[in-house]
Symmetry: C2
Subunit: 597 residues, 2 copies
């Protein structure tokens, strides 16, 4: 472990070691690992502080809920027991009472639903849990798949997707039994040549109730998709009966023109051709807030921007406007990327009330907590050698979402861009504005536990560095060779840094004589970069090891203090390293997650 910094900056760093490295000898140069026996490398890159199943392939996080009876949070995900399968083998889940430790819902097979029924002969895709739902029991409304392939890039096969229903009869969530009936929504809206129509997300919202003249506390579903040649969209449905069996189609809640961008695309990628895994929720300064700002999470497909490989995990805030063309409309006021990692996608969030067991212990208020998926084979597009590993992909550390306010920002061109923030207050006197953006940070219980339960804690003394572009400065003390830790650091830059296009500041992690990964921020294009080019020697012997750089856009604001002098805000970094899983968080409004072998 070394710290690599360049230029004059102030660094405050702490390191919390989650776990010691396993005792395996990796001194020899690696072979082509695709030739290794099943499971040989099972533990080599496997994270310890992330949610993933015993083995096999993890897909989208889906079907989370807090059981009102137990207060347990159920984290769900699509699960294919055999790694490298492309069709999800059902949904699995684990429960937690603290967001730190998780228990598979059943063992050895944690699946709560499997495909192969009359409605879902081919696959079970993402769903949403209403708890209490049908007969007061946890109820899973999910996309039941009858035909494949399904992709916005090919003609849509009508009937390939339907929204079906299953119920946890005993309330435990161990098994969601499919009701002996057809789908609750049998087909995509009539007359639309859809690009996709899946991933229902359920929510209640008094703002919707009011504008739609719905019964109080009505449930809604948004189904994600789009229309060929027209653009991506969210399809809105309203509960029609108390049993959740019928859902009335209201129209498209959110429509974007095909493959366009928010602003010039810099801050939020492209809307692409098809939406997936939409979430709809309201948050305020503290977390979930029924009177807060309306947000949506959305996975966009087909956007050609940047490194997202055609997919991007976006967020957007918007106004809910009265019905005009089809139904109420979500009109975007700001949008951004939830996680800039090219493999981080399919964010699925859930309202976690303060009554949840974990929240009771931590004192957290009502929260909206989102889970992302980190695909291990770049959406099945690269031949990652899963055989030797026996698993691929993971869920990322869950994040709390809230509205982050940054006050007294110097009002300049940078602030006035159409970006992932919105001006809420302007003071012409002081020449400043207040801006808001999506705040997101690792779930508090996890970070708190990592710190309090760390096997070692190191705090580097503050230092001021006057480096040049190539200097790597080690930490002042020896650190253990753990690959499981949290690194927190604050870096203060002088304002001249903006005029130094070559300035890079960051850390080298997971370094050895042969390998190292560099995480740095550079002012030239206001970006974070994770340089994986030298991360693993395995890439030299084996196909399918992704060593491309990861990059994400991040801006440090100039803040005026009470004296009227402006100063660039501190870069507050939090890097979670859990073996091969690396999550970079900055200033509660940026994240970039990736795998580093």
């Amino acid at each position: 472990m070394s710290s690599k910094a360049f230029f004059r900056l102030t660094l405050l760093a702490s390191l919390f070691v989650i776990s010691q490295a396993a005792e395996i000898d990796y001194n020899a140069a690696p072979p082509n690992i695709s030739t290794l026996e099943n499971g040989t490398l099972f533990h080599t890159w496997r994270p310890k502080a992330h949610v993933l199943p015993p083995s096999g392939h993890v897909g989208d996080p889906t079907g989370h809920y807090v059981d009102p009876a137990t207060g347990l949070f159920h984290v769900g995900y699509l699960y294919t027991t055999t790694a490298n399968e492309t069709v999800p083998g059902g949904g699995a889940s684990a429960t937690t009472d603290d967001f730190v430790t998780y228990k598979d819902i059943s063992s050895p097979d944690p699946r709560f639903i499997k495909p192969g029924g009359i409605n879902d002969p081919i696959a079970v895709f993402d769903g949403t849990v209403i708890a209490p739902g049908y007969q007061g029991k946890p109820t899973f409304i999910y996309t039941a798949v009858s035909f494949l392939p399904i992709s916005w890039t090919v003609p849509y096969v009508p009937g390939s997707e339907a929204q079906a229903i299953a119920v946890s009869e005993d309330g435990s969530g161990q098994n969601f039994t499919k009701l002996e009936r057809g789908p609750v929504i049998a087909s995509a809206p009539f007359g639309l040549n859809v690009t996709g129509w899946r991933d229902p997300f359920s929510f209640q919202d008094s703002g919707f109730d009011k504008l739609l003249q719905s019964k109080e506390d009505s449930w809604y579903l948004v189904v994600s998709g789009g229309e060929h040649d027209v653009g991506p969209a969210q399809f809105l449905y309203r509960q029609y009966d108390s049993d959740f069996m019928q859902w009335e189609y209201l129209g498209r809640l959110w429509r974007e023109t095909v493959n366009t961008t928010w602003g010039d695309g810099t801050w939020a990628g492209r809307w692409g051709f098809n939406f997936e895994v939409s979430n709809v929720f309201r948050i305020g300064a503290e977390g979930a807030d029924p009177d807060g700002t309306l947000f949506s999470l959305v996975g966009t497909e087909g956007g050609k921007y940047g490194v997202q490989g055609g997919r991007a995990q976006l967020w957007a805030a918007g106004d809910l406007n009265p019905p005009t063309n089809e139904t109420v409309s979500f009109d975007v006021t700001m949008a951004g990327i939830l996680d800039w990692g090219a493999s981080a996608y399919a964010a699925a969030g859930k309202l976690v009330p303060s009554s949840a067991k974990a929240s009771q212990a931590s004192g957290a208020p009502d929260r909206f907590i989102a889970w992302l998926w980190l695909t291990g084979d770049f959406y099945n597009s690269i031949a990652f050698p899963t055989k030797a590993q026996g698993w691929d992909s993971t869920l990322l550390t869950p994040r709390e979402l809230y509205v982050e306010t940054i006050s007294n920002v110097v009002d300049n061109n940078a602030v006035r861009e159409t970006g992932s923030w919105r001006i809420t207050n302007e003071s012409s006197t002081s020449g400043t504005v207040d801006i808001v953006t999506l705040g997101h940070k690792p779930v508090r219980e996890a970070i708190s536990a990592y710190k309090s339960k760390a096997s070692n804690t190191f705090t580097e003394p503050d230092r001021t560095l006057n480096g040049n572009n190539s200097t790597v400065i080690p930490f002042s003390q020896a650190v253990p060779q753990s690959k499981h830790y949290v690194l927190s650091a604050s870096i203060s830059f002088p304002s001249e840094a903006r005029d130094s296009p070559d300035l890079r500041a960051g850390f080298q992690i997971l370094s050895s004589e042969q390998e190292s990964t560099t995480i740095y921020y550079q002012f030239s294009n206001e970006s974070f970069v994770v340089d994986r080019s030298n991360s693993t020697a395995v890439a030299q012997t084996t196909e399918g090891i992704d060593t491309r750089n990861e990059a994400g856009k991040f801006r440090l604001w100039d803040i005026k203090d009470s004296t009227g002098s402006a100063k660039m805000e501190t870069l507050d970094l939090q890097i979670i390293v859990d073996n091969s899983i690396v999550e970079v968080f900055a200033n509660n409004r940026f994240s970039l997650s990736t795998a580093v072998l």
Copy 2:
């Protein structure tokens, strides 16, 4: 064979023997036939001049069409290869170029579609063929079944029925290949608690086009069903794309209030609780006529009237009125029963153009020809011993439908009833009216062939009988013991007959020393009766032999001639006896079909 007549009447009778009886010795008293080996009685009651499969169970006639390429008529039916199965095992068909002889579409298994696909895992129900349809090929749009039971008497399972599509890829009609896609109509109209939603029927109609502002020659579908506690209905859909893949729901074309009747119910039974097998077509005096009167055939379920066992095969004529509540509406002007046989049901008709091969030969104009099903086990409600027989049920002789006009009918209370006729002209001068009703008679080619190819033809001399109520008068000449013949007779009654409630006139058929069946008309309640109480000795040894009387309402009109004197019209009878299958036709406007063992 004997003729049984009572009272003074004039009789003109001819007998055309279709076929000689098979050489089997049936002199011994019958055993309990349910104990007999498989197939022992295969030929005993099997018809020779009706359409039924090689063995097994026939259900609804369905999926007929004239192949534009060959001119052949394809007669289809639901077929379960094993007798007594309740779930249809698919659709089968035979072709004909003359409506006399038929060839199974393939042998030994004549099915053109089987259930078990993704859309129809459980069963294939009735459908409709559009030819030319998708890509110009014969295209079958049918009810695909995913859940059972389906009945108006139990809560509807949403998704149990969907309308799916299959295409005869090679154009031959031997196999209809299910397209790799979901149903073309995935679910019943939103928000309706339907009693049923099946049996699509396709048609084109310029009257619909005009009122609905549709593209010229649009295709429509009616799907049959109803709404719980509201009433039976026909759901109307319109073609949306040239490939027949999307059908726009327009609303209910025909709605009746639950379990009500046309008039007092005397002439048309009850509308019941659910419609099945709807047909929509226009006919005139000669047959099919795009400018003719709009008719519908409909099977009604749950009506408690009469002997129909809860089901009735009705017809109705109506006006097509502009959209008001939901869509254009079919407003009934007269209604009746197409066949009064309690086991005759599920009429499925098809437009047969004059270009059809059979029509070319016979010189017939465009026709609408309907096929009925005669269930052999009373809709699976009686334990008919099918094992020994190896088959059950048959299709009946196809009928030509047209508008029958009866002119110069004495205008009296009888005419003014709300009945299965409608007054079209009134003359106060002569005190007469013209009335119209549904004309229906056995398809001309079949009757013509039975007559021209008869192995024996007998014509009894005209006679005038002054019988009493118990006299049975044999034919004047010996007739062969054939059980396959057509009997035509005209009986003239004096007007006093109306005042003789005990008057019965008719025939005894299939008679021997032990058995006989009496078919008679009685003036007391203007009814035909088929008395089966002494039809078969098997009923004394075996359960499940239906010996109940069959009855149907029929009125003979008083007609004024040019001199102004009124005379009751002649009763023109045509009785088709094909072993156990007996079809009674009267005056081109009445039929009653039944099985006589």
